[in-house]
Amino acid sequence: MSHPVSTCALCPRLCRPVCPVAVGSGREAAVPTAIASVLWDHARGRVSDALAASAASLCVDCGACRSFCQLDAPFPDHLRGARVALAGALPHAVPSPEPLRALEGSGVTCVIETDGRPFGDALSQRLQRSVRRWRTGDALGVAAIDGMDLKGPHAAQIRAQASGLALVVAHGGVAKVLSRLGVPFTWLHELVPSISGVASCCAPGAAAPLGCCGGAGPLVVQHPADARRVAQAWAARAEPGVRVVDARCQAHLAAAGHAVPDAIDSLIADLA
């Protein structure tokens, strides 16, 4: 593997569809390749520290690009280091607010794996509400589950996250905890009998590429526009907390109603 900046700066933006910031904001500058190209030029003295820091701060460190990358380029690791090294170049010790723009209007609280970055705090300030963070210690935790091909499923999950960034949940972490406890993801089905077919791309033992709890309905990978509408509908119920377990089954999400997030919150609280 070459240096990640080199690999990513010369890559034709193949991880673009899984980057939640690039998809959610529509900004070409947020595509990992675009960020890498700035860092490439920065390393050669062609752009300023401030510009490089600004580019590096577009990333929310979800790790999706690396999970998707067929070359397994460790770009998130490099970016993390770059942000630390360039922190002083930014006018404020917070990431660029640009990623947050995509979050505005979603009306729901997000949980984001921040991995030590102050993103959650900045997000909280921006949205003027508390933001729950649940750290897993390894981006989203999904990579820690053995024996799973995470390329496709993870990509699907991140696309769901990219749905207006309203649906971000430490989903992989949930799956990880459940996996360690030996609890199959069908627990949702058991917990909430009215839920049929809530899917999990990270369900232990799930059939590739997408797992499902076994409900009767079809799996639906939501497009951002759809997911946004779903998220807004959830937000309209004016309930605090994380709303969505998995964004891929619009019909089942609707059927799940209020029970799913409550159930998850309860479970997480119990596990904690």
């Binding site: 010369l10 890559c11 529509g26 070409e28 595509v31 497009h223 951002p224």
Partner: protein
Amino acid sequence: MTPQLPEDVPSSVDPLDLRAASRDLWPGGTLDFVQGVAAPEPDRVFLPRDAGEVARVLRWAAEAGVPVVTYGAGSGVCGGARGMAGSVVLDTKGLDRIGPLDRDRWTVDVEPGVLGQHLEDWLAARGFTLGHSPSSIWCSTVGGWVAARSAGQLSGRYGVIEDMVLRIEAVSPARGRFVVGDGGDAPEAWWPMLIGSEGTLAVITRVRFRVWPAPASRWLRGYAFDDLPTAVRAMRRLVQAELWPAVIRLYDPVDTRVGGRTKSKDAPEHAPKESDGWLARMLDAVDARRALALPLALPGLVNRLFDAAASGCLLIVGFEGDPGVVDAASRAASALLADEGATDLGDGPGERWWRSRHHVSYKLIPIFEAGGFADTMEVACTWARLVPLYHAVRKAIGHTAIVMAHMSHVYPEGGSIYFSFAGRGDRRAYDATWRAALEAVLAAGGTITHHHGVGALKAAAAAAEVGPAIVGWHDARAALDPTGTMNPGRLFVEGDPRDPPVDRLDPAVDGLVLVPAEASYDERQSAATSVLGELMWPWRTLPAPQPWARMPWQSGPMEVRARVGGRPCVLGRGPRSATGPDLRPWLLERGTNREVTLAVAASGERWMAEGVVAQPWSVAQELLRADLRPAVLTVVDGRLRVGFRGPAAAAMGALARARVPELEQVPYTATASPGGPLVACALDDPNVIWVTTNSAFRVPPTVLEEPMLSLVGAEAP
């Protein structure tokens, strides 16, 4: 007075956004980037959220005299989507809605900023597919597909992008918002102008696509041939036999050898991955990132070594769809290929290709890292010209670049060649390689691009190819963008006029017959009979029905030869061209001494049946939706008539009879199909004369003449 900037439209002057919009995936730009040459940046990036905002941006830009570059995901490889100095970029990714999906008509509406993979995921979740699978599907948008004439890896079954589009909504500076295609309000003559216009005429704001249920079965298999000409002949026979495989990929001997493409499907993942990444395979073989400089610096020697070491080539064939149809077609294909001397390699090569079919672009990274350049050129021509063109290009650039090729889009009328090449040097060397390659293609009678489009890279060669028919594009521009606001300097850059290449049509090989454009149905059919068999698509009148009123495999005239202003002009030098908009309809209307080539079905097996059924056109549509592709599908005197040709004719006939027991076999009769233009109507309309999977059609109550001249003076927004 200075026009007021549309401040209600989201936009950015953030240096990061301007910088990002200054690059697309043109390898020449990547070479510049690596070598420290800064790309010119636009002044502003707009991110409109709907067609109304697009219209406001275009109106302002036209009044202010500011060029507009439309940008999707920047996946273009010809430099056509890069922002330019003094321009504004209109980024379409804010237009990202999908739907509605019409489950009855099998259509979906999509906005242009939707990424290809997101669309396919969305459809898959609902049990459908567009069937468009370009290797760039992860990094390209729907709007870019249409604007630059994309083609996907399953084109044999689903067609190329213009076969999938049923309706386009667009905005131009002069016209404002308009709709063309199925149910559109704008002149139909604008349809062929929009697809492939690469942002030079209008911004596409919504597209209606034909979709298909997700295929119930898929069959992939690899075959080995001793040499390229034999394999090309087999491939030609396969498509001219009307078996319609979804996938055909023939790798030349070098690509086959370097790619190691004949490994089993269970080859470990860490092994070099199957893809178009031919060069990276070579690099893998010699751990070449460190050793790259030498082979890239000695391309002539490397090419000779490869030629000496390589022999035999691999053909991958794939079918998907209804299990019965897939079974019948794949059996016939296997038998035909065996007859041509193929060695059956089993399903390994095909399965391995399928798994990594979108990985090609990862392979180019190390070449640029090593200070080299890598690029691809996809061209097309008729069958008789295919192998000579292949050799001509290899000879033209073999001294400056390592070059090899595969052929992955083929049609009864001809095929495309996808060259991959890599060399070492700066932009001067890169540009010289491209000039030589394009000259070789033009001289050999091919079209310079099959599906990558033109951009800035091929703009001069594109103008040379279309010759005097460029007037058609000027006409369209005068109507839609008279101030030249849209992507100026891209698509066509006129140079010295040149005559088209010498005619080399070989009817028996090419499966084409040349006739006057005014020839009657009987005259066209007679001409076809004299050379091979019968017209493959016997439209009663020309032109054929509009593209949205045909299925992907039903072709109209291919080559159009005419004179414009006394100069000879030949368009359609391959079965499909991405050299800008399709100017053939304009040439047919405005040229003189017009001739066209039409596909001819060779003699061979035939099957036909007729029967009386209730709502025969509804039954006809059901047959199309069942993946059957009849050569004849019509209603004659109230009786449904279904006919098949080729080695699978009887098997397909049996499948049709299984679905429609009323069908009784009758002697095969070549049967005319209605010509265009047609209008959509209800399936139970008593005047139905034609169906597709999506619509029924009838003759318009009044045939409206829409000459290209009507483009001029269109209404202002």
